[in-house]
């Protein structure tokens, strides 16, 4: 079993900066991510000035990277069971940092299971991975600040953006814009996005009520106020802002709310030696994640002057997180038809869930959330649609190989 001073789960901006700051203070760090490379979902493969130094620093002999590696179980006595495509490991930590990031909230709507319908960040991730997008007609819909950079990204890669349909009203978006005034870098970013999207129709207060097509998406039906209209497109990128990935924190027994891991101002969770940073603390974006990466390293190494410095920075960035949540965190849901699929893995419809009392009965009676994604899509969706809370998180956190689970035998008395 390998042992580390600090294990960081998640190699996005928060995790990378924590790793860099800890390694430069002499700590031996393991950085785990289920993706093939560091950078996080949004910034992977992007040459961003803010994160390049931290990415380069991952070459440090003090940092061991575990890519394509999923956490299968969190164990007592400060150990993790992890699995990659080749083998499995038990890793021991003195301190654990949860930098598990966020995923898109994908809400059911008629036709959302058709090939050609992706998340917003989802389409960006696929295009980064090599999916051709040139000359494809794309409608971007839903809500969230992610819409803008992704629209710019897709257009730069040759996509034809048919329209951006944002749920929020224009006054609400303007209010959010005013918050940005305190963040000069964000203002310039916003101006840059606007300049690069000249000519793209932008529609506020616009809700997707159906995605049309038979074997793949061919269009989208949108409601705006009292009238409806149809747009023709090849791809529909639709997402409803982000939700933090909380399963690892919950598996460890940390207190959480639906929006965040509960932490102190010094990033400590309710479990000793376990910290949470970045989107896991609530959706705050890149600069917030970077600041918390620095802060957690200072906290673990008891570097008091650095703690004071980064705490102020985190407080400033977290104010923006509050504005983001107030604007985008409670997306409207379109009334669903009976036959609309809610759980994509098990093809459970809205009608089938009408008699379920809660998430647990939906799982037991209808198999909602029991498929390969383990409720990662429909769990957050049913929380929004029906107000269901999450169930207890149990290992394995992801589908795992038998050989991986067999490793537990070596420490079977430790398994919770």
């Amino acid at each position: 079993m390998q042992s580390y001073d600090v294990i960081i789960i998640g190699a996005g901006p928060a995790g990378m900066h924590a790793a860099h700051a800890l390694a430069s203070r002499g700590q031996h760090v393991a950085l785990i991510d289920d993706n093939p490379a560091a950078g996080g979902q949004i910034w992977r493969g992007v040459n961003n000035k803010s994160i390049q130094p931290a990415r380069a620093a991952l070459e440090s002999p003090h940092i061991t990277t575990y890519y394509q590696t999923r956490v299968i179980a969190t164990l007592a006595s400060q150990q993790l069971l992890v699995e990659n495509p080749r083998d499995a490991h038990l890793l021991h930590y003195r301190h654990l940092i949860i930098a598990s990031g966020a995923r898109e909230l994908l809400l059911p709507v008629a036709g959302w299971t058709l090939p050609g319908v992706t998340g917003i960040g989802g389409l960006q991730a696929l295009v980064k991975a090599g999916m051709p997008i040139a000359n494809k007609r794309v409608v971007i819909a839903g809500t969230g600040p992610l819409i803008w950079p992704v629209a710019v990204f897709l257009r730069m890669h040759g996509a034809h953006i048919v329209a951006i349909a944002e749920q929020q009203s224009l006054p609400r978006l303007v209010r959010f814009g005013l918050h940005l005034a305190r963040y000069p870098r964000k203002i310039w970013q916003a101006v840059g996005y606007a300049a690069q999207l000249i000519g793209v129709p932008f529609m506020a207060d616009s809700h997707v009520i159906a995605i049309t097509g038979t074997t793949q998406s061919t269009g989208v039906r949108i409601q705006r106020g009292d009238h409806q209209f149809q747009l023709t497109c090849d791809y529909v990128a639709i997402g409803h802002h982000l939700v933090p990935n909380l399963d690892i924190a919950q598996s460890l027994g940390c207190d959480t709310t639906p929006a965040a891991v509960t932490t102190t101002g010094l990033l400590a969770t309710t479990i000793p030696h376990v910290y949470a940073i970045g989107e896991a603390r609530g959706i705050g974006g890149l600069d917030c994640a970077i600041a918390e990466g620095h802060l957690v390293a200072a906290v673990i190494c008891r570097d008091t002057s650095a703690i004071t410095q980064w705490q102020q920075r985190v407080a400033h960035e977290r104010q923006l997180a509050t504005a983001i949540a107030a604007t985008f965190a409670t997306p409207a849901t379109t009334p669903l038809a009976d036959d609309t699929i809610v759980c994509r893995c098990e093809d459970v419809t809205h009608a089938q869930l009408q008699h379920a009392r809660d998430w647990r009965t939906a799982k037991l009676q209808q198999r909602c959330g029991m498929g390969p994604c383990q409720g990662r899509i429909c769990g957050a969706a049913t929380q929004h649609l029906y107000g269901w809370g999450p169930d207890a998180v149990r290992p394995p956190l992801r589908p795992a190989r038998v050989a991986t689970l067999a490793l537990l035998q070596t420490i079977s008395t430790d398994v919770e």
């Binding site: 995923r103 090599g130 899509i377």
Partner: protein
């Protein structure tokens, strides 16, 4: 740019060596189309691009239910889906 050859449903394709299986599949087909059938036989393919939704699972070198979006391509890799490919799960 370095390239390599993979086999998608037994046909060879040359793709960018830095892509994922999802990238290779989308380069080999002109439009995103089904890479699996759901339990009710509905067409499905990649959605989240981030290893969360499990919709992109295909068979890679004989191993079923591998995530196309999380798997880098390798020379000679055999990717199958649809008829004779991934079983329903």
């Amino acid at each position: 740019m370095a390239t390599l050859t993979v086999f998608i449903n037994n046909r060879s394709y040359t793709c960018d060596a830095s892509t994922t299986v999802a990238g290779a599949i989308t380069q080999a087909t002109p439009q995103l189309s089904a890479t699996r059938q759901s339990v009710r036989d509905m067409p499905r393919t990649m959605v989240c691009g981030m290893g969360i939704c499990f919709e992109c699972r295909v068979t890679i070198n004989g191993a079923a239910h591998q995530l196309a979006c999380q798997t880098p391509v390798a020379s000679g890799m055999r990717i199958t889906y649809g008829e004779g490919g991934d079983a329903k799960l």
